[in-house]
């Protein structure tokens, strides 16, 4: 059942953010970006019209993986990296459940990278929320698979020599059908992305840039500071041109397969010449180009929905196959099963 269908069926459910908050003391460091993500999840949950008992939050290990303890839904705080695999089992056991994964960058992309890409590939109907702070927080400050090259951390005193992953690219390349990015310090945008993800049928992935104020403070400062934000962030909206800058004075257009930044103040280019964002483009090429803005000098960081396409889900196909075979063969009977193949009688 899609989330939309669930919403229609449960219009009478009226819960508040408080109903999704447990009596457990939240133990994240004061000022941690995780607080905002938790608050937005609790805020949007009542609006989904899904009964509280049908939510399941699954996590692995890491600071962000304490998330389920603070959501008053069913929850499973499992082992490092395995949340997508455990969540898959939950969804396949009961496809009626709304299954959410909360994971950090080390958890989801390093030790759990395999489970993440395969959950995307299968298009399991679940939401995967990446808390990307580009650092190992719970183990106190080692570089992570999303840390920038050259980063000095406790385990890279001379600078990290690892290239980072681009999580959005991993998700798109692996077949995720909904891929978005948001920022902890932009609660409205984050809520919108979560609502969009919840409404999507299939694997929905949100990369959230999350500040670790203890071990990697200010990692996203240029994207959140009022002074610099406009020049460093481009908000993706379906059907709209890619425009950014303090006075909406810069645009991005495609020159062949390469994006270029153009000045909208000279009169040479107008909004019509720009890249018009199409979330529903079946071709994933433009999503990759958008994600790669990170590697290009002076390019803004896109936030918003990179891609949303429809594809059958693994869980849907699994239950369809169970029904189909049952229809074909009839409901299984042990008496018949035991006697499959050659049998003989001893009198």
């Amino acid at each position: 059942m899609s989330t939309n269908e669930v919403m229609e069926k449960n219009e009478n459910v009226k819960l508040t953010a408080k109903d999704f908050s447990t009596n457990q003391d939240v133990r994240w460091c004061p000022g941690c970006g995780d607080y905002s993500i938790l608050a937005q999840a609790q805020r949007i949950s009542p609006d989904l019209g899904i009964p509280r008992e049908k939510f399941v939050w699954v996590s692995g290990i890491g600071c962000s993986s304490r998330f389920p303890y603070y959501m008053d839904t069913y929850g499973f705080h499992s082992i490092h990296g395995r949340a997508p695999a455990i969540a898959t089992g939950v969804k396949l056991a009961n496809p009626d459940l709304s299954v959410w994964v909360a994971a950090g960058d080390g958890d989801l992309l390093s030790i759990g990278g395999n489970h993440f890409i395969h959950a995307c590939r299968r298009n399991i109907d679940m939401k995967v929320i990446l808390f990307n702070n580009r650092i190992y927080g719970l183990t106190k400050g080692q570089y992570s698979p999303t840390s920038e090259k050259g980063k000095k951390t406790k385990s890279s005193p001379y600078g990290s020599i690892d290239f980072p992953f681009l999580p959005v690219n991993m998700a798109v390349a692996s077949g995720a059908t909904f891929v978005a990015r948001s920022i902890d310090r932009d609660p409205k945008h984050l809520q919108t992305m979560m609502l969009r993800a919840a409404a999507h049928h299939g694997l929905a992935f949100i990369e959230i840039y999350q500040n670790c104020n203890i071990f990697n403070d200010g990692a996203y400062e240029p994207l959140t500071n009022k002074e610099t934000k406009a020049d460093n962030v481009v908000v993706l909206e379906h059907g709209k041109p890619l425009i950014f800058g303090k006075n909406n004075d810069k645009g991005i257009r495609m020159d062949g397969m390469n994006p270029v930044i153009v000045d909208l103040t000279t009169g040479k280019y107008s909004a019509e010449d720009l890249w018009i964002h199409d979330e529903f483009d079946e071709n994933p090429a433009r999503s990759f180009v958008l994600a790669h803005f990170a590697d290009l000098e002076n390019f803004p960081t896109p936030i918003g929905v990179f891609r949303q396409v429809q594809k059958s889900t693994y869980d849907g196909d699994l239950f369809a196959q169970l029904d189909e075979v049952t229809k074909l063969k009839g409901k299984g009977k042990l008496e018949k099963l035991f006697r499959m193949g050659n049998t003989w009688e001893v009198a």
Binding site: P51, F76, H77, S78, A85, A87, L337, V346
Partner: protein
């Protein structure tokens, strides 16, 4: 053409089919087994194949074998040494010759004994001509040529003709051992119904083989092995992996909840995954995961959400699942973990049998992490123990190990089909009541309640962090941790009240007790029976429950002056018995990738009892 044929009546026969891994020996062997089962003999089989799928033709390491032992009496093993070897090429002869009984019959494909194949088998001279096979009854059959002759007129490639010769050999063996062709003909119709040319070819080769025996002068003796007097009932042939699969489906039906298997293919356990993937009309969900860890992790998730969850693997896979087994211990969720053991460590001997993962199952986790362990003793026992593992997992809210092994998994025997109504119900109580619910409250069995997502008002969180006794919130309180560690331990120990006592077979008043576990059952039972027939006093027990041990274990072990523990590892059960019961044991250990021969156990027993093993 009539000829004089002597019919000898035999009690039991062991045949081994051997050839290249591409020669279809496994198929030939299993066809002979099925026909023999239908004929009514008791039987036991031992497929033995290389880890390489198609090793280079003619080489020694590419030899694939299938041994079967059938009898008019009840039997327990695939036979110590073959009475008959069917050797499709020189390599097959060379590899298997040392195992044969003195005076055994060797049927060889003489066409395969050319210089190329002799060289590949490292024969300096042709063994068929140099007298080295004196002492055996060698029957030379131009198998390749005869097969080709029988297929003349069919438009088949040379390769296809060559690939049909196993059916010629099978037909010949059917004649020699007085078996009907019909079951194999029917199987061929089913298998090749849509490929008439192959159907025709295989049928022709099979029949030609049979009449080759009937009509040529080289065969003067046929052997008759009368049907066995098995217990009354319906039977089918079953191997251990099939039996595990059926046991799980049955448990799912009797528990009234869907079966979920999370698994990753691994030899020799993959067949359980394959079998279960057929049973979709029983609501069975099979999830072929991205790796071993996801196999068990998905099963844990499914268990959390209320399914009967199982995961299947072999030793190297279990090593990968280890951390997740600990999670299942901590979260106290029902889960069955099947380890079809193979030779280890590491990749070890993927296709060869061993029983060396007992200590891995027992101790291979961080922290105090008790898991019940069950071990199947025969291929059909795999059904009962799979069912039993599910019962215990659900009743006690715990992961449970079921240890099988390659030999049980691939070996087959007649299985008395159980009466479905006689299988016990497995009660499942999903918790519903809000007022009385606590995540880690416990019932009389010390099991915590199973409250599944979707149940209103019972929203709760579980996980790998230690939880508060009764309330289930995260707790780092030192005293609470000790309470929980002891509670998990007590729960698993409590299962002792719910499992059968050890049963002593043989002479209760003997001085020697033979104690074994898992797949050694057949060899030990046969060895003990043979020696008791000769007047020796011996008692025998067999462990199917290894954690906890049955309640009367200490009482039984301390009753005997000497305890012999034969096992195919370096003494894993011995170690457990010694440490838990402070008894001395005599070890008999073998790690050669094959089951014990009962004669090996007999020799050891005789050396303990004094005297000689006279045959």
């Amino acid at each position: 053409m009539a000829k004089d044929v002597e019919v000898q009546v035999l009690e039991d026969v062991t045949i081994r089919f051997a050839g290249d891994s591409g020669d279809g020996m496994q198929l030939t062997g299993s066809q002979f087994s099925n026909t023999t089962a239908l004929f009514g003999n008791d039987l036991n089989t031992l497929p033995d194949y290389p880890a390489e799928i198609r090793a280079p033709a003619g080489t020694l390491y590419g030899v694939s074998g299938f041994q079967l032992h059938f009898s008019s009496l009840e039997i327990q093993t695939p036979g110590d040494s073959p009475d008959v070897l069917v050797a499709m090429n020189p390599a097959a002869l060379k590899v298997n010759l040392k195992d044969l009984k003195p005076g055994a019959t060797i049927v060889v494909n003489e066409n395969a004994f050319d210089s190329k194949n002799l060289k590949l088998a490292h024969y300096e001279a042709n063994p068929l001509e140099d007298g080295s096979l004196a002492g055996f009854e060698v029957i030379l059959v131009p198998l390749s040529k005869q097969t080709a002759a029988s297929l003349e007129g069919l438009s088949l490639s040379v390769k296809d003709v060559e690939r049909t010769k196993n059916f010629f050999a099978l037909g010949l063996m059917y004649w020699m051992f007085d078996r009907p062709l019909e079951p194999t003909l029917a199987w061929l119709e089913q298998k090749f119904g849509k490929k008439p040319i192959y159907l025709e070819a295989n049928k022709k080769a099979l029949t030609a083989g049979y009449y080759y025996g009937e009509n040529t002068e080289i065969f003067t003796t046929r052997y008759h092995v009368a049907p066995a007097k098995l217990e009354k009932g319906s039977y089918r042939s079953i191997n251990g992996n099939e039996a595990v699969a059926l046991g799980f489906v049955s448990a799912s039906v009797k528990a009234g909840i869907p079966l979920f298997l999370g698994s990753y293919p691994i030899t020799p356990a993959s067949e359980i995954l394959q079998e279960l993937s057929n049973y979709k009309n029983f609501g069975v969900k099979t999830f072929q995961a991205e790796d071993e860890i996801a196999g068990i992790a998905s099963a844990i998730g499914a268990s959390f959400a209320g399914n009967l969850a199982v995961t299947t693997t072999s030793g190297p896979g279990l090593a990968l699942k280890t951390e997740a087994v600990g999670l299942a211990v901590m979260t106290e969720l029902p889960l069955v973990i099947v380890d079809v053991q193979r030779g280890g460590p590491s990749t070890g001997l993927p296709t060869k049998t061993e029983q060396s993962d007992l200590l891995q199952a027992m101790y291979g986790r961080n922290g105090e992490s008790p898991v019940p362990i069950l071990a199947a003793s025969t291929p059909s026992d795999c059904f009962d123990m799979a069912f039993e593992a599910c019962r215990i997992a659900i009743k006690y809210m715990t992961p449970v190990f079921l240890l099988s092994e390659g030999y049980l998994a691939n070996g087959s025997e007649p299985w008395k089909i159980p009466d479905v109504d006689s299988l016990p119900e497995i009660p499942v109580h999903y918790w519903k009541d809000k007022e009385t619910y606590q995540i880690y409250s416990r019932n009389d069995n010390l099991a915590r309640p199973w409250a599944i997502p979707g149940t209103p008002e019972l929203e709760h969180r579980i996980g790998g962090l230690e939880k508060a006794h009764i309330y289930g919130t995260v707790s780092y309180v030192p005293e609470n941790h000790e309470i929980m560690v002891r509670m998990r331990d007590a729960k698993v120990k409590k299962i002792q009240d719910d499992i059968p006592d050890l049963e002593v077979f043989g002479d209760e008043d003997a001085d020697l007790l033979v104690a074994a576990w898992g797949g050694t059952y057949g060899s030990v039972k046969e060895a003990v029976a043979n020696l008791r027939r000769k007047g020796h006093k011996i008692a025998q027990v067999h462990f199917k429950y290894l954690n906890p041990f049955p309640k009367n274990t200490k009482e039984v072990l301390t009753k005997y002056k000497q305890i012999l523990v034969p096992e195919r590892n370096l003494g894993q059960l011995s170690k457990m018995l010694k440490s838990e019961f402070l008894v001395e044991v005599i070890q008999l250990n073998k790690v050669q990738g094959s089951p014990f021969k009962s004669s090996e156990i007999e020799t050891k027993i005789i050396s303990i009892l004094g005297g000689e093993n006279v045959d």
